[in-house]
Symmetry: C2
Subunit: 358 residues, 2 copies
Amino acid sequence: MIKQVDSTGLSAANTKRVTINEVARDARVSKTSVSRYLGGERHLLSDGTRDQIERSIAKLDYQPNQMARGLKRGRTRLVGMIIADILNPYSIAVMHGIEAACRQHGYTLMICNSNNDERAERGYLEILQSYSVEGVILHACARSAANLGQIVRYQAPIVLVDRKLANFDTDLVGLDNYQSTITATSHLIDQGYRDLVFVTEALQGFSTRLEREAAFHLTLRQHPECMGFTLALDVNDAEQLDRELRNFLTNDGAGPKAVLTTNGVVTLQVSQSLRRLGCRLFEDIGLLGFDELEWSTLIGTGITTIAQPTHDIGIAAMDCLLRRWAGDRSASRHITFRGQLLVRGSTTRPPSEQQQAA
Amino acid sequence: MIKQVDSTGLSAANTKRVTINEVARDARVSKTSVSRYLGGERHLLSDGTRDQIERSIAKLDYQPNQMARGLKRGRTRLVGMIIADILNPYSIAVMHGIEAACRQHGYTLMICNSNNDERAERGYLEILQSYSVEGVILHACARSAANLGQIVRYQAPIVLVDRKLANFDTDLVGLDNYQSTITATSHLIDQGYRDLVFVTEALQGFSTRLEREAAFHLTLRQHPECMGFTLALDVNDAEQLDRELRNFLTNDGAGPKAVLTTNGVVTLQVSQSLRRLGCRLFEDIGLLGFDELEWSTLIGTGITTIAQPTHDIGIAAMDCLLRRWAGDRSASRHITFRGQLLVRGSTTRPPSEQQQAA
DNA sequence: CTGTTAGCGCCTTCAG
DNA sequence: CTGAAGGCGCTAACAG
């Protein structure tokens, strides 16, 4: 029978943590021996002391204090991650990969959400440093290191994820935005869409958005039969989004219309807007979005997406840290993955319209 | 012009952190004075020393080492959170609320994902303790404290979120599952559905699932005109889910059929299954799910949900910690919120059928 | 108002 | 193979 014990802070007050001293006393050895036992230098200990220490540790339920260890050794086994927007499923997916990789290598992940606020981001960077994290994975919202204070002489290695950071040369893991966007745009054109719009949140200098937008227009330029423009706005402003999309839908154009969205958040807002506008999804309009979403298959005939290998991105980011920890001082690595086009109904035009466009 | 500086670990090696000693030396005062400055006891300092310290700190870009502070003071300003499933949008939403509350109170949140693995959960509990977190917010996957090792004599206050933990009397924040389920089930019956199924992942003793299931049957018992049963299965086993739902759809029943799902993850899987079965959403079947989802409005005529006040839940959890830290030792608090029914098309039966059921 | 002294819990020389 | 001594960076008495 297990007793009901409260943990309302009362017990915490009296129950001090067991320290290395008490283990040493209980085992009748010195702190040094216990420390050696903990530090993986058991081979230096005699069988007798080793067993004795082992027994005492178990008996007292001892756990070394990582703060103290970190203070002394500098190794905290802590990895920090700063996420620009924790509500973005993409970020969560990447974080999931990183979390798994951390665990596998005995690291613990400390998550911070900057909420796309540079001040918060800078603050967290400092906080993480003050906790002596051994590495940082940064989904940056600042565009330039100039706005990130002393990041340039940060203690621990930093890996950027998804977005680049100007004036800061460090490892980076992300998507091959150019190639992936070309794939996406070409797919729309191949499917017979002629009047395209690239919808994104305000570009704001984010490398990801800029690159995708540039590649979109690059592709268009090679297809004179097509029209296309960029719609950069606050996608949470439903009224504005509705107005702009209605314009797009009603204006004359080069032919069948389709939307390319820059990420999953935009895909959601655009879908809702199209719904509000009374659009038939996806007969009146095509839709292709970056980022795979768990509900992609459920909307109308399904939304075609460019899926990012989020898990691999997480693993790769952790791998960058591991290499740096191992002493690798070579030039910064830029690892980019190719997005995977998942074709669904939203870019498959009904046969009736096919001819009209041909 | 900002120089490109690499942070590939090389610079980190030579650049040691500035310590309190160096600040003291630079300011020509003692460590104590600097410490007092940091610890918010500036009123004890003369204007001269205060300004001098301020200047030196700025000049050297000094940041106190939280590890060292924590070691000494016991205050780490760290809150740990263990999430059972980080891919569940509900958890993320709660975490978002907690994160905001932490930030507001000067705490930093450390997230760990147990992946519904008790071993991992126990491990993280120990790790968090070893980092001297000042409080833990636990979305538990273990059902009983008996499986959680020494949790009963944990140092820091613990707040449970969503799920209860047997043999462990501590603060808890969650949903009023009974009332919310009664609301949900009654709504289905009011709308004319007569043949109901409650779909859940294996109950596995999770309090949330158990309570909702119990309340479902409780409500049914007061409506002899209705039929209903529980379908507990691995919702990721698409084949099994499809089979069971097909049975449900084809079997004779007491009238119009509807599904009640126990959480957002199940809602997603059920939606996909119904899609695979060629169901017309939501003419052939009604659907009501716990947890609001960002895409609720987009599926067919929209999915009716019971929305949880996730943000408030997060705030409340943090509030529990704040109270315990403030010295509150009263009995454990159980805070439950009422779910909000958001009626959409998935529980609005088309007029043609209305009569048939009447 | 200020500095000196003694640790927090652990690891790491340096001698046995 | 083992232990004693010193210090990581900081705070908390205790004296001035």
